[in-house]
Amino acid sequence: MSALKSIFGKDVDTTSSTYLGKPTSRVDGPAKVTGGAKYAAEFNVPNLLYGYIVSSGAARGTIKSINTAEVEKVSGVVKVLTHENAPKTAYLDSSHRDQLASSGGAPFRPLYKAELEYSSQPVALVIADTFEAARYAASLVKVEYEVAPHETDLRANMGKAHPPTVTRTGYVSAPKKPRGNPEGAYDAAAHKVDVEYSQPIEFHMPMESYASTVAYGEDGKLTIYQKTQGVQNCQEYVCSVFGLSSSDVQVISPYMGGGFGSGLRPTYDIYLSVLAATALRRSVRVSMTRQQMFSFSHRPEAIQQFKLAANSDGMLDAVTHTAIEETSQNEEYLETVVNWSGLLYNCPNVMLSHQLVNLDLASPADMRAPGAVTGLYAYECAIDELAYEAKLDPLAFREKNYAEKDQNEGKLFSSKELREAYRQAAEKFGWSGRPLEPRSMKKGSDLIGWGMASGSWEASQGKAAAKLVLTPDGKLVVSSATSDIGTGTYTVMTMIAAEFSGVAIENVTFELGDSSMVYAPVEGGSWTVSSVGSAVKTVCQELRDRLFKLAGKVDGTPLGDTKIGDVTFANGAMHVTGNPVKNVTYAEALKAGKIDKLELDTTELPQLAKQATHALYSHSAVFAEVSVDEDLGTIHVTRVVSAIAGGRILNPKTARSQIMGAIVWGISMALEEEGMLDDKVGRFMNHNYAEYHIPVNADIHDIDVIFVPEHDEVVNPLGAKGLGEIGIVGVAAAVTNAIWHATGRRVRSLPVTLDKLL
């Protein structure tokens, strides 16, 4: 590590920390449990109008007529907006592309044209002076369609699969050329599997439904309280779509009741609320119903084919992985699905392919470890099959084929403690006693099985800024236009700011969720700590430099000619390290500099030069135990142990919660989640919480989370890799592999429901 330090200069401070690495309760917890935290639909402004969305009942065709005669009779109705009368927005598709849109394509525009794009898309907005009037009136809107044939069945349309024709931020396309000779190696290999895995469409399912409250200012300026994972992305989008100046649009989102990726891109509620507010010059709120939460984004359905082979020693020798996913007709949604299969294990012969089929559905969107969770679910199941073919324990197979470098890119990992994660998780789980053969363990009428899988996710960093204000009362306010989607951003940023500013944590406030704050990227991809956290660290270090200089102006210069390196910054004061008597408080420093309010801001860029030479990933080792009722097929995931190698863990308390939540989502993916599409009508039929199943408490049993220490000076100045995604990756595979181990049945389609085991 000393070599790394000499190359890269700044050290990662992992030793003596005051706050970082210590379990810290959520700073926003009290506000949330007392109802003080306000969400987008809870900001009330005077004379607010309420918009209620009317959704399409047909998937494809043309709106013949929209009869609003009955609607307008309802007392309180102000306006019904449809494609026939909605004000025009920006003409070019490019004006409708937000930060996360694909480089080509035509993002969906509500109330734009008579042609339908998918079932449940908005076709009208009823605006009234009460929510109740709007809702009732909306039920009276009569829409007549000239219905045209639609295609929503991925399998039936596999013949239309094509490689992506556009790009997207964060998307890594599959390597163009194969590595080695996968076909030849497959043919010659001792052990092979040739299998297909499929998974259904899944929905994000945050508790809070999308809402947009637009406060229309006297000057025509818009203040938009919006559920979103990116206030600045929304602001840019609104400005671009409606031709507004950025100084006239402010987007605010202090809290978010879950996002899981659904709020990375602007949702159609913001389009509709701004459309109505600007048309009527009034404040308007538009919120979605639970049913409408199934109408704008989803994890794409995927069908994945594998040809894997190992030689007689159990060394992985060939990987062919083709993933076919659906996307909408108007956009190519891109997520990195197959590259993981060329990365996770050592293999000389690899061919990867990612293809798309356009269907008459809403555009898919990033959801909980997008791409990796899809690719690695299927790959880690297929690897399990191969390990069994080779009569090797699945953990032993993985250890044998452990990748010491990223073979896709030919780079060393900045850090990768996956081997240690395997070891610790296996030990905690008690894996060593596992029989190789399935159907070997029983408890009463239940079959017991153990399965495992690995996970991986990229540790990325984006450009981000942070601003601070220090006042003579010793209070520090740090801000950045990021979000807290429930992951603990408020808390971890407060900790980072306290750590590096030397201001006691109770005197630090972190603010976020306002587009007028300094730049932050959307909160997603597990990169917020890495990106925004690094900016917070830097600006706080700059604060110390600044205060140290000001200390020289304090009467009597208590710090003398001590160098900054020999000064300790703690509890809002500087003192000569080892001599607390020689100190200057921050307030004294400000006073000496005649500063009422010290403001600093900085923009942190990823250290691309050093990052470019390394592969940056977090890893996980997931072990699961299931019990399966042999007669009835009911499955319980009785234990999960997950060891995470995710760099430095800044707040072990929220980190543990985050991983536990992700494991629950993984169990959910394995056993329950399925958007039930009726291809005859082109519509999701289980569009509510009663019928779209996610786990209830009774489904969740023991979950054990282990953090494996990793020291990483390359990923970012904090050494933290981000935990937003890694926890879910591999869970569905571990559970599915355990089900096989219990029953001897390889169920190759998700979710694994009991009927598939009968």
Partner: protein, 342 residues
Amino acid sequence: MINFSYTRAGSVAEAVGAKSKANGAGRFIAGGTNLVDLLKENVERPRQVIDITRLPLATIEEGPNGGLRLGALATNADTAYHPEVQRRYPALSRAILAGASAQLRNMATNGGNLLQRTRCYYFYDVAMACNKRRPGSGCPAISGQNRVCGVLGTSDQCIATHPSDMCIALAALEAVVRVSGPQGERTIPFAEFHTLPGDTPQIENTLAPDEIITAIDLPESPYAEHSVYTKVRDRASYAFALVSVAALLELDGDMVKSARIALGGVAHKPWRSPEVEALLTGKTATKENFLPVAAALFHDARGYEHNAFKIELGKRAVVRALQLATKGTASIRDVNGQTADA
């Protein structure tokens, strides 16, 4: 908002009068756990809502001939946890506790439980056709997403199921529904209360539009020692049954004196077949003897694309329930008084 008029009934007669006057456009509201959902989904659009929560029908008391009388307005929770229900009708207690959530059971009433509507996806989505919701519009469930639909007693018009857990146990117990109408009181045997869809899926029971359920009478039961409710579902709680079985056995040693089996999740009504139950009479309570009974119960079943598995699952669940019932009620009671879900 949906404009409806609201009245609070002060007596059963008043409730019946108001319902009668509303001429089919009135709905009673008690717990509201189903009606309010249906109002929000625009499935139900009553012009008159008659609040019956103040009627004196919330008691659980001794009934005639050694039975128990459950007031129509007693909550599901109060019923499930009533010591006499737990002691004498354990399958009923467990069936109730296998349904919904604690919050819903605290609100939901016994009368309302009988009248809850199907959870067929198409019934709930007013953008879709549904013969039950809009007679004559068609049944997309037959060729659509029908995992939750029925396999027994279905028709070309409707394959929906009755979603209740409680009713499955009531059917097995041969409860009697007491109703009150303009012509006075009458009783309806449970087997005759719910109906099959046939050509009139919009009709779900034999209650007249101006009648109100006042109580449910449970006859004296010889089954308390061997009563189970086995519910198989897609998650461990808060899910409707794929298949459920109320199994009641009266045993003499290991010989079956009489058996009752009611099935949930498979039909438009709690499904029973007394002639099949009779096959067990005089037989020993063994898996070998349960298997043909299970097969006979599903002999006429018809599966659809996404629910054909219910036939095999149903048979297995029947065998499991009978095996558990044989073992005895006490042997399967867990700390919550609930059976394990299978």
